[in-house]
């Protein structure tokens, strides 16, 4: 990297009001440390801070567990590669994540997120209840509740993109907004 690029990156990050961002190997420990930055944010209600923290944890743990670029398989300790960027505007925070996913997971994500984004709060509550009763779907390392809960905690339906890359892989981008009040 050229030296002048460092300032360009710094400037771009400041202009975008990036609260935190990290790219590369994502670990649980890293998430815990960055989570503290979120929990120290002011200018939002305690409930909103909880919502923001919870969206941050879910999106980051999704990279740990489901990124297609895994450095060591669970349960020894998941280490997935991805990017997390949290930005701020006057009224909201945005938690953005990106990582490669397997073709199989891409199909699941597309279907699940398309369904969830069309639901209102009551429908999301109902589908959460059904999932609690049914238990996790095959291939889930958690409760299968993650994206449902993220959708419920978001202030607007999450935006997502599954992009085919020139390397013939699929890159999953997700953006979730949480209002400050």
């Amino acid at each position: 990297m050229q030296l002048k690029e460092i300032y360009r990156h710094y400037q771009a990050a400041r202009d975008e009001k990036i609260l935190l961002s990290f790219m590369g190997i994502v670990t649980q420990q890293l998430m815990v440390e960055y989570g503290k930055i979120i929990n120290e944010q002011e200018g939002l209600s305690q409930n909103s801070r909880y919502l923001l923290f919870s969206v941050f944890v879910e999106l980051t743990q999704n990279i740990l567990r489901y990124s297609d670029d895994q450095l060591s398989p669970p349960p020894d300790g998941a280490r997935g590669i991805g990017i997390v960027i949290v930005t701020e505007s006057d009224k909201s925070f945005y938690v953005n994540s990106g990582n490669h996913v397997s073709a199989q997971r891409a199909v699941q994500l597309e279907k699940t997120l398309a369904e969830l984004s069309a639901m209102n709060a009551d429908e999301l509550k109902q589908v959460h209840k059904e999932r609690r009763r049914q238990g996790p779907p095959e291939g889930s390392q958690g409760a299968g509740l993650g994206l449902i809960e993220v959708s419920r905690r978001a202030s607007a339906p999450p935006l997502f993109e599954l992009r085919q890359t020139s390397e013939g892989r699929t890159f999953f981008s997700l953006s979730v907004v949480v209002h400050k009040h």
Binding site: N47, K125, A143, L145
Partner: protein, 125 residues
Amino acid sequence: MLSLDIAATEVTPRVWFDPASSCLTIEGESYPENVSEFYDSVFAWLNQALTDLTELKVNFYYAYLNTSSTKAVLDLLQTLDDVHRSGSAKVNVLWRYRAQIEVMRETGEELGEDFDLPFELEAVK
């Protein structure tokens, strides 16, 4: 034999049993990387304890609960609910939450609705 006291960490709650009040308390954060690894020891204790106890109070007071921990709580409540239904022990659940965190009250309400056992909510100011 029934003693239990698991210290809290940054990402796991303190879990302890008070024999005098027959009360199991789970209090703190819950978002470990491997949820079942942590909760397995709680289940092991619970299954053992339930062979002896005729009464058990369970207090939950989570500061934060991620979705895979929610699954563990569901499993705990299912075990307790089975005991309640069978009548082998009297079970009471108390879900405490910080009053300002509405989403924690909501989580408690919804979990309570999923089961038959006595389930109370308490806002902590």
